[in-house]
Symmetry: C2
Subunit: 204 residues, 2 copies
DNA sequence: CGTCGATGTGTCACGGTGTGCCACTTCGGC
DNA sequence: GCCGAAGTGGCACACCGTGACACATCGACG
């Protein structure tokens, strides 16, 4: 793979600095009360340069964790063949859980900022939708039918969001996300409306 | 219930007019290329008045369907007692389906605009999240445990989104949304990872 | 070492978004 | 018909985001 040019290193450093200062200022004085000029000043660049590294003021916070979902697809592809769609995705998402558990502190702070800023929350949701679409596309590549893949990807996201929510609520204890994931999956059957009805044998 | 004052009627009419012209202009010339002044001019008000009725430019499109979800809660409350949480919500969401099926044309246009405007899509997702939270709160009021209510609300949203997606893909045929809702629910058991495993008998 | 070209940065100007303030009109109640 | 309340428009203003131009920095090459 290509080694990073000194230029690229400088560029990445600037972007990371902007992202850090953005999250810090948003947490300190709120999203609305923080201007782009504030973030740029904190990172010691002009506002014009800010927009050369970050597309929007919103995106400043998310500039770091862009393509984390590649992990999921990679791990999901390693699942044994013949696994049902949702189970395959779950196999992949465990890798994401392991990655997220590394820094529960930051995730909690992030969640606190998202909670009281509808704009940033919307941005977060949009990224989750992109994840769902990537999961669906992955299943399609594996030969799963369109409707089935879409529903499975939707279910995955629901399971993930519920597990993540409980994890944050439990102060992001290290190592607990994986267990919560299993717990939520175990609860799914209890939510089915008509368990006695014909199961329509979709699973292969 | 309180009868609408003439003033409130005027106000609602203005807001509806703004929403209609916003959707039309967004569809015609795109979101970016449409200014607030354009929408305001089309509705024959000043830009200042625009912002008195609509909080953001983004919100213009959604100004109309704000408290549609009240329908869902109302219908869900009418479900027979003893119904499982998700089934109760589904009972309510059928009312929403009936309402949406009235104007499939508009829903299709709306979806087309959302598809190519990340900002508006994010706004749409944020509103869906509010719906989920309202559904959860409703279940809590009915005495459902916190975690169970949250998961059930999440599942409801997934089922709704998947059904709605298929409905739009099928050109929003009138009357088909309800059937698709049932079809998606019927597919759920097939997505469960371990159907033979102990079902943990949560449903009462 | 000096020059050239590429890239990053700053400054300026501009259109669009969203809000506070004040004056004006309009509408409902007396 | 009068008066208070609410909606409306116009103005000024801060912030967001972009295009254009000039300058600084750094690597390549003779």
């Amino acid at each position: 793979m290509e080694r990073p040019t000194p230029r690229q290193r400088r560029q990445a450093a600037t972007r990371r600095a902007l992202a850090e200062h953005a999250l810090r200022l948003f947490a300190e004085r709120g999203y609305e009360a923080t201007t782009v000029a504030d973030i740029a000043d904190a990172a010691d660049v002009s506002t014009r340069t800010f927009f050369r590294h970050v597309p929007d003021k919103d995106e400043a916070m998310f500039a770091a964790d862009e393509d984390v979902f590649a992990l999921v697809v990679e791990a999901a592809a390693a699942a044994p063949p013949g696994t049902a769609p949702l189970a395959r995705l779950l196999h992949g998402v465990r890798a994401l859980a392991g990655s997220a558990e590394q820094d529960g502190e930051v995730k909690c702070a992030r969640e606190r900022v998202l909670e009281e800023n509808p704009v940033l929350r919307a941005r977060d949701l949009a990224q989750q939708l992109r994840w769902q679409q990537q999961a669906e596309a992955f299943l399609r590549r594996q030969g799963v039918a369109a409707d089935e893949a879409s529903l499975a990807a939707g279910l995955l996201l629901t399971v993930w969001r519920e597990s993540y929510r409980r994890w944050i609520a439990a102060s992001a204890a290290p190592g607990a996300l994986g267990e919560l994931l299993d717990a939520v999956v175990a609860e799914l059957p209890g939510h089915l409306p008509a368990p006695a009805r014909r199961a329509r044998a979709v699973g292969r």
